[in-house]
Symmetry: D2
Subunit: 346 residues, 4 copies
Amino acid sequence: MVVVMDSGAGEAQIEAVIEKLNGFGFDVHRSTGVNRSVLGAVGVKPEFDTRRIAVMDGVSDVFRVTEPYKFASRSWTDGPTTIEVGDVTIGGDRVVVMAGPCSVESEEQIAATAAFVASHGATVLRGGAFKPRSSPYSFQGLGSDGLRMLRDAADAHGLLVITEVMEVGHLDEVVAATDIIQVGARNMQNFPLLKELGKAERPVFLKRGLSATVDEWLMSAEYVMAHGNPYVILCERGIRTFETSTRNTLDLSAVPVVKSKSHLPVFVDPSHGVGIRNKVVPLARAAVAVGADGLMVEVHPNPDAALSDGPQSLYFEQFGELMDQIRIIAQAIGRTTDQPHVARSL
Amino acid sequence: MVVVMDSGAGEAQIEAVIEKLNGFGFDVHRSTGVNRSVLGAVGVKPEFDTRRIAVMDGVSDVFRVTEPYKFASRSWTDGPTTIEVGDVTIGGDRVVVMAGPCSVESEEQIAATAAFVASHGATVLRGGAFKPRSSPYSFQGLGSDGLRMLRDAADAHGLLVITEVMEVGHLDEVVAATDIIQVGARNMQNFPLLKELGKAERPVFLKRGLSATVDEWLMSAEYVMAHGNPYVILCERGIRTFETSTRNTLDLSAVPVVKSKSHLPVFVDPSHGVGIRNKVVPLARAAVAVGADGLMVEVHPNPDAALSDGPQSLYFEQFGELMDQIRIIAQAIGRTTDQPHVARSL
Amino acid sequence: MVVVMDSGAGEAQIEAVIEKLNGFGFDVHRSTGVNRSVLGAVGVKPEFDTRRIAVMDGVSDVFRVTEPYKFASRSWTDGPTTIEVGDVTIGGDRVVVMAGPCSVESEEQIAATAAFVASHGATVLRGGAFKPRSSPYSFQGLGSDGLRMLRDAADAHGLLVITEVMEVGHLDEVVAATDIIQVGARNMQNFPLLKELGKAERPVFLKRGLSATVDEWLMSAEYVMAHGNPYVILCERGIRTFETSTRNTLDLSAVPVVKSKSHLPVFVDPSHGVGIRNKVVPLARAAVAVGADGLMVEVHPNPDAALSDGPQSLYFEQFGELMDQIRIIAQAIGRTTDQPHVARSL
Amino acid sequence: MVVVMDSGAGEAQIEAVIEKLNGFGFDVHRSTGVNRSVLGAVGVKPEFDTRRIAVMDGVSDVFRVTEPYKFASRSWTDGPTTIEVGDVTIGGDRVVVMAGPCSVESEEQIAATAAFVASHGATVLRGGAFKPRSSPYSFQGLGSDGLRMLRDAADAHGLLVITEVMEVGHLDEVVAATDIIQVGARNMQNFPLLKELGKAERPVFLKRGLSATVDEWLMSAEYVMAHGNPYVILCERGIRTFETSTRNTLDLSAVPVVKSKSHLPVFVDPSHGVGIRNKVVPLARAAVAVGADGLMVEVHPNPDAALSDGPQSLYFEQFGELMDQIRIIAQAIGRTTDQPHVARSL
């Protein structure tokens, strides 16, 4: 932590700050410039609230020098983390595609989707069983039945399963049925849930909150990791800005930013950020071009009849074209979309 | 719902939209202008996803005409709702002040605070027992012990109690110990929690999420109300914007906006929005001037030693001065801060 | 400037940074902690682009220690600046009210407004002659005729005049006709205009840009001051956020923030921020309560027929009530709205 | 325009609105639903301020049905607009790359840059001569000398020239020296400048303002077009959001959004949005993948010594690699980066 004193700060004020810092157990280095003094405090713990110093008399600014997270930081490991789930490697050279409907609606719907996306290169089947809906009057998902349908459809086509958990009470059931557990944007700071996920034996797919900074997002990853689970996959899905012509603003810059701050894999979900089908495809291409480790995309056999988020779900043909385009884009940056596990889908 | 067709939309496209609307059970009125046709759909349910029509060929724009909420809407009742808790009326002429520390830390701390704020006109004691902290390494609250200390301190001084609940598993315990239950900004869209609060026999104090629009905030109130609990108090506490010189941007315009859209009482918490003590007082005054039904303010007997949020907690003297100032400001707009229940604090 | 090195930065990287800093003419103090080194650079000029150091190998973070502005900084003078214009003091104990229509439309309109607002305590008459309009098809103002009408109406009632200048080519004409020159939000970073205003012999009323941070706003004040004009009045008028239920979000926190960073007076214009008449009055009250040095409010004798911004202009009665309310609110914080120059309006 | 009445609106209120609408010259269609009436107003002019109706008693909502712009709207022409400048086609199948330094600093610097970028596929040379700087103390550009150096360097390598104009007084000089005139983000709503550009015989490259919605951006294009110049090229360069880990947030969704609303070509400038060199390249790739008609990228022969924006300028090698990557990405979506005018650079 670096404490910058006001240019007019008196000696008594400077000494009060030093004493306070020592009281918190920090070593203090003082440099006295022509105009103002600067204090370097060494040994600051990540959770220290720097405002405690900022409010003292004579203090101009306080800067945190260390990140507030440890396990999520790039300096925690030597290189990028890869996560092996079944025979899929997340965070490696291969761009991993997770696809499926917003909600599981029926066995036919999820089976048809699984068959199609598997044959076009997706390796993970997504689908909602417990749905967070901003209206109490909307379809809330099929629950346990949905989980079973999702698992069956995935197994039939050699796909992994990802689904969202919304509350601690559903966690065991969701863990039993899925390979990767999704935390939705609205739960990114549901701390009791994050703590429990720290004990779960599944990788956690952590969507960025609508108004979360990259540092806050990494702090939520830290919650999961500090409670015992090192397998966190981050997913950008759009932030809230003043622009209303899209549902949210997909922040693709977050991909290289996360890569410079953390060793964790980072995905992009263009469906929720953009909200309208015909804009999902270009943004999905851009996500691969910017360097995302994977995509999560909503696909539905009949989007016009979908019970939720139909307008942002791709038609099968669109998904096929998208896969063709990103195959080339991935190559342009030294990656691939081909998966080495084709044998599995026998 | 109003559907505006493209100026170049063909008759077949218009008819396809009408057919689709009829299929959803809506009556459709068509007006054909010189340049474009406009369709009015009657009978649209609040949860209808208007994007289902927006993605159709030839459609230019779709506007929702009815609000997506019913119980939270101003048109649901004749006038503003008042909520009686003990002998305190919330939403009436009196500006209600809820004050206390961020976290309950000890019997002495909470007792001293209760004594001071009660003697200066507060009627509700606030204090955190289960704390949502963005770092897994920060103080997480005293839990059940904290709840008991809070209740005891409040009872000793004739105050009501408000505290936050973070998860469904704690709900019974919190209900037993408090008069009003707070939902924090990060849980504003924790739908499983909102549903359970719909069954709780306590008023719910619903903080606005950092990136929630007023309509989304009212939808969360609707969740609670639709599940059976009509007693919701809204609280503005700052939204996330590009400006970083304050922790968040306190959106005081939200007070008159909520009053025009809903019958529910609306409070302001300036402490979290501003984040630095010496700016809390002016914003608290402004909140009363803009017409808030009450304030929630953090006060601590020794903010410099507080275990959480000390830098934004007021010193006792500051709280006393604030109460003196808002007494006058309330009068300027035909309200009062004096409470009629002084006898209670015997 | 403080440069924080990566925890893994090598000695060669640290020395390269020191050499670079020396090359820019800075003195460097080095502190070597357990985990990382921190470099303090003394003598950094305000315009130095800190990213020049941030992109070097081994650098983790760079913090600017001095503000990028000098004349606008609170440390430039001993106390708050007051500006005398005619017999009106801006920035003193008295809350100054500037009122009038969005656009000057006719002699009758501006004369009626001047008479009314003068008799209710306003001391400055506002009105647009050259109008910035986001549509090329909207009313663009009466130009020179408008300026003359504005001056005449103000003189007849002992009021000062404020109007907006949009381009350098109009500056002489506007200076000749007005007492205070307004720079609109969209021109806050029109640097050629700010430079010329630095040479103008009139105080400059500088509205905050819709997406300007407080520091950027103060930098624009610095432009005017660095070019020779020390008389700058700041005016908050709403920032752009995700919330659309008001036209902009009035950032009242900016008032105490500016007061802690600068010695310049700060006003609030609630009309543009809120955009709807019945919400202007409560926000105007809040602006006085938060400590603004004055208000700018749109008032029109017949808002329903106004050629611009009618929906946000107050009716005369509303303005009168507002003045009554803020008189009391000003007293609550030790200020007054009464002006000592009543004799002038003979 | 569609006017939705309150559910409780009385007949007198409805008739007052109809009368008002008729008074403005609109035809009104009324549909009376079970709960509320909806009025369709036909003949609304683009500049009509819908708040005039919104403030009337009994009115719930007002929606603008037609866009506020005409010439900029997609419906104005049959397909996308292409602009021919010299032998470069903007808005066609070829992705056009504009590259060069932030500021022209010397003949050597600009000549070296021109030679390099021309040999790697750029067709337009960018460089600032008159610079908008947020600090009055920063390098303000070489002015007329810079313009001449830019022109000479471009001519020597068969490149077109683009540079920014900041004020009306410089317009003739800039027109004489350049092929395309740039309007910076801070001048996007400098209406006097836009009007003059409407008379200029050069295409206008209009950067999006930091807090401009897509509709406001198109309104600024409309300003130029309505004053006589149909050749406007739009350029997304990052919007202001709460996220501070990048300088701005590059809104790549704006590319498909603009394409659905307007016929004008749209470019992306990743340098200003991201602000740090090593994140510029991935975002530039993403911009091509999302469907931009071209890129504007800052390149400098020695970024570490640049007088402005060095930290976001690419090294020559980086630019070369970027061009190699986008060649492949362009092919993935049926476009090309190869220019048919190689012969020109004799």
